[in-house]
Symmetry: C2
Subunit: 282 residues, 2 copies
């Protein structure tokens, strides 16, 4: 299984503090050792760094921990392979261009038997359920909007429709960004927090490390952090509800919606239907 980390900010922000803690889960505080990836938006550009070494051992992860890239939208992923071999083409996040913007996607969970037809516009390079779902989702956006770029609210509505349909096939927690905003969706496990003025000192869960955000911020800073498991001890992390979709922009939660996942309701009524997926075992 995998863990996700997303960041959406009002001003370009360095993710090194959160990434230091998060990357400890790739072998030190957890066993997500089968590769890592991180994508940074800088204006419309997106830089993706992936490696099939763990985020603890990879020289590329070491570069990221030490080279503060300032970004308003970041998505990172550490992988414990369940579907798809351990190879670079299966490393999240995945990136595709649509409407002259890069779209970045990372997924936590397992989808079972999810193989709808793709229209050819987006085809997976690797062989994960995750990249397949990403291509399907983008296909759906093109089917709905054509090649006229819609607004973020329109994309939100499209995700509200399509995400629970994919979630019928299993666990579908994801972070998605086009550099303007960050969309997060959870079926089982995802948490978020907003760091804003007045800032406070904070301690990482995964590493004996503290930062006093008062010393490294200005009042205009505002940072939403989204992650599988909370990264810090003393911040007010909120858990996503099952089926919840949230749109973060400029470090604010600007829209949220709880989608209806038929499978979850059926399973609640009759627990014998429940297929425990590896996604549930962290």
């Amino acid at each position: 299984m995998c863990q996700l980390l997303g960041m959406n900010c009002a001003t370009p922000t360095d993710i090194t503090f959160s990434f230091r803690g998060f990357s400890q889960r790739a072998g030190v505080t957890s066993d997500h050792c089968d590769g890592f990836g991180i994508a940074f938006f800088e204006d419309k550009s997106c830089r993706l760094f992936i490696d099939n070494k763990s985020a603890v051992e990879s020289p590329i992860a070491e570069l990221i921990r030490n080279y503060p890239i300032k970004s308003r939208n970041v998505i990172a992923h550490i992988r414990k392979a369940t579907q798809g071999k351990i190879s670079l083409e299966n490393a999240h996040p995945f990136v595709r261009e649509l409407w002259g913007r890069q779209w970045v996607f990372a997924h936590n969970g397992d989808l079972h038997g999810f193989k709808p037809e793709l229209r050819g516009r987006f085809i997976p390079v690797g062989n994960t359920d995750s990249e397949y779902a990403f291509c399907y989702l983008l296909d759906h956006l093109v089917e709905r909007f054509g090649y006229e770029e819609p607004g973020l609210e329109d994309v939100f509505q499209a995700l509200e429709d399509i995400s629970p349909k994919i979630a019928e096939y299993g666990t579908f927690n994801f972070c998605l960004s086009n550099g303007q905003a960050l969309f997060s969706y959870a079926v089982t496990k995802l948490h978020w927090v907003v760091r804003s003025y007045p800032f406070r000192p904070t301690q990482l869960v995964d590493l004996d490390m503290e930062i006093d955000f008062r010393e490294v911020t200005v009042p205009e800073d505002r940072v939403a952090v989204i992650t599988t498991e909370p990264l810090t001890h003393n911040e007010a992390w909120k858990a996503f509800e099952p089926g919840e979709l949230i749109l973060f922009r400029d470090g604010n939660l600007v829209k949220k919606s709880k989608t209806y996942i038929d499978r979850l309701v059926r399973e609640a009524l009759d627990p014998s239907l429940r297929r425990v997926t590896k996604a549930d075992v962290y």
Copy 2:
């Protein structure tokens, strides 16, 4: 203007030697300081590293020089901005997915007034003539072949048709790879060499550095290197003819063709027509 470096190999090969020399041109032996990029294929996966610092100063370029990534297809680019501001979204190489493969493209030259309509399938993220030409070229491939992946020979024929049409608008030297092979096209300046058994010692042009390839190769190795200006003193670099398209696969030149560029013939007959582009001034 820019400089290009391509590598196509029979076996996964480390490009650090050639990249060390090439990256000197980003401020030491030449002034291509406005960013760099390098894309490595590893099987179907493609890792792209870009920075808007020069390849001499960038910590990412330093990582590349010291972290030997083995690849069968590599494309690198150092930039001296002529069109498009210095920003990450304008850094070459550009990458798009088509037919479930990553396609990587880097361009040297200037195109003037090249703005044909794009169909929406591929839209530039930045604002360079180069990314526009890449999107146009991929558009043409989809128009010609639809979403059924053609063979490399078919792609070669398509490039034979479309490249000289783009070259009517200016200097269009490029390297293009989908991870299976490398296509190179030149209007003004591009050189290539194949390194194969028996290997020999070689000295870089741009750096006081020698390598004895006999010590770091096996007889099965075979490496085609394509670059704007020859990288070494004592190898038999060949210049592309104007309009020449070459397909390299497994380190071999497998196909070449000389395309007819009407503009070059007109300019040869009447030199007053010739618009000296910055591309010609290295």
